[in-house]
Amino acid sequence: MPVHSKFEKFEDNWQTSMGGWFPGETVVLRGKDVFKDLNNSSWMEYLLFASTGKESPKIARLMEGMWVICTSFPDPRIWNNRVSALAGTARSTGALAAAASVAVTEATIYGLKPIKGATDFLYRADKRLAKGETLEQIIRAELKQYRSVYGYGRPLVTADERVEPMMEFARSIGCGEGKYIKLAFDVAEYLAASRFKYQINIAAVCAGLLADEGLSPMDFYHMATLAFTAGSMPCFIDASNQQEGCFFPLRTSRLNFTGDETVKHWRV
């Protein structure tokens, strides 16, 4: 019988331009020698180059500011951090805590979905504006189709305390005046005056700032994936250092059972 799998040509054949390790010799990333060409990069510059291919100390600095100001609140009640705190109180390991917390940041009401979604929204809105649609038409269509606009509205509180410090930092390094960040605030102005009363959250601010630096939604997503770890690690450490199991213990009465209390018997 003839063999004709699509896999044959890939067997023991992984072709890439991304980079690799030559054992005992050198390491290459996107065509650059890590030991010679990138050895003076900051870690954030290296991550930016690795993730996007961009070499820009300015974007790396902007991103670093975002990580500090916007993404790493050391509060164990925030859901992704809570996972690390639970890992600590249950005496799991730091890496397992971090892995789980990073995975959990791919959330809908915060974290990576709004980050990627807000960037995508600003790019789409800009294209539609260029075609002659009004901002009101664009926002109304977004709300009609998705019932939300990524980057606007926030759980627990309405205002986002990170917006001003982030903008202040951005301006201090020469960012914050581009068309996408302006668009982000134009959308905020419209939504604040609408019946939805959504206020801008930090995802739209960061999305606008980074779109102005030429980052795509995927670029921002890849860069932001690890952004929350400095918030979750202290939660893990804190819970690890306290009495085991004592992180917000729950008595049985804290379960609010809303089902039928009739006891059933299994049919064998």
């Binding site: 890439t16 189709q145 729950l250 379960l255 059972f257």
Partner: protein, 263 residues
């Protein structure tokens, strides 16, 4: 306990009564009305308890047999499967056993052969039911994402293997067996119409497609199916990872000659 408003966890699935001497320990646990440690422990099979947890009711004998068959079919995808390779990669490096499970779940969660594919395949079943015309239209004109998501768009019809040549024997055996024991209309319809669907998809049916049909017959929602698929495939990942941990990295492929760095 503080007297002010107390935050609680709302649940319809689980009820507990406290031990007389410790309000933080449960004396009785009821799952969907059944006493877990006084009744289910003695009388239910693991598969039936699994069904109860997801569906909040005792399965019929057909449902139980179907889930049991699916669980066996999925329990070990084998050491060439992406998710199992992920777990073994943890094993050979001496990583934590939990990391092997995390690796298997992360890799086995995707659009290709993973749980996200099962999720999408369930959506296809919800939309198309047993209508060949509907399947043809949806496969040939798949839904487009209006806005970007953290998931990448599907690159092939969910439930089918874009790299396959013909439907592999184990997939056909599983489909035939589950269609027979489960008495479910969708599995039987899939078994009867597999060739037509494969022609629309331009590739053969995969395990993910059989699992989706089985879980649709079991009336699982897409998100329930996604979770259960992840869970059911973990045993193989665990044992292969443990085996490779013992054997060590020297006996595990490094693809020393297969890596080509282009300028």
């Amino acid at each position: 306990m503080p007297k002010e408003f107390v935050e609680t966890i709302e649940t319809k699935n689980w009820r507990e009564t406290p031990e007389p001497d410790n309000p933080f320990a449960a004396a009785n646990c009821y799952c969907c009305g059944y006493d877990v440690y006084d009744d289910l422990l003695k009388n239910a099979s693991y598969i039936d308890y699994l069904y109860l947890l997801f569906k909040q009711q005792q399965p019929t004998s057909e449902q139980s047999a179907l889930l049991q068959g699916l669980a066996i079919a999925l329990a070990n995808p084998g050491p060439r499967d992406h998710s199992v390779r992920a777990a073994m990669s943890a094993g050979v490096g001496g990583s934590t056993h939990a990391s092997a499970m995390i690796a298997a779940i992360a890799v086995g969660a995707g659009n290709l052969g993973g749980s996200r594919e099962v999720f999408h395949a369930l959506e296809y079943w919800q939309q198309c039911q047993n209508s060949l015309e509907a399947w043809e239209q949806l496969i040939k004109q798949p839904p487009e994402l209006g806005r970007e998501d953290i998931w990448l768009p599907m690159e092939h019809a969910p439930g089918f293997d874009p790299n396959g040549v013909s439907c592999p024997t184990p997939v056909k055996q599983t489909l035939a067996h589950l269609a027979d024991i489960g008495k479910g209309t969708h599995l039987q319809w899939l078994n009867a119409n597999r060739a037509a669907l494969e022609a629309y998809a331009e590739c053969p049916l995969a395990f993910s497609g059989v699992a989706a049909a089985a879980l649709y017959d079991l009336e699982f929602l897409p998100e329930q199916a996604e979770m259960l698929f992840l869970l059911l495939r973990l045993p193989g990942a665990a044992v292969h990872s443990l085996e490779q941990e013992k054997l060590g990295w020297r006996k595990y492929p490094f693809f020393a000659n297969g890596f080509k760095l282009n300028p």
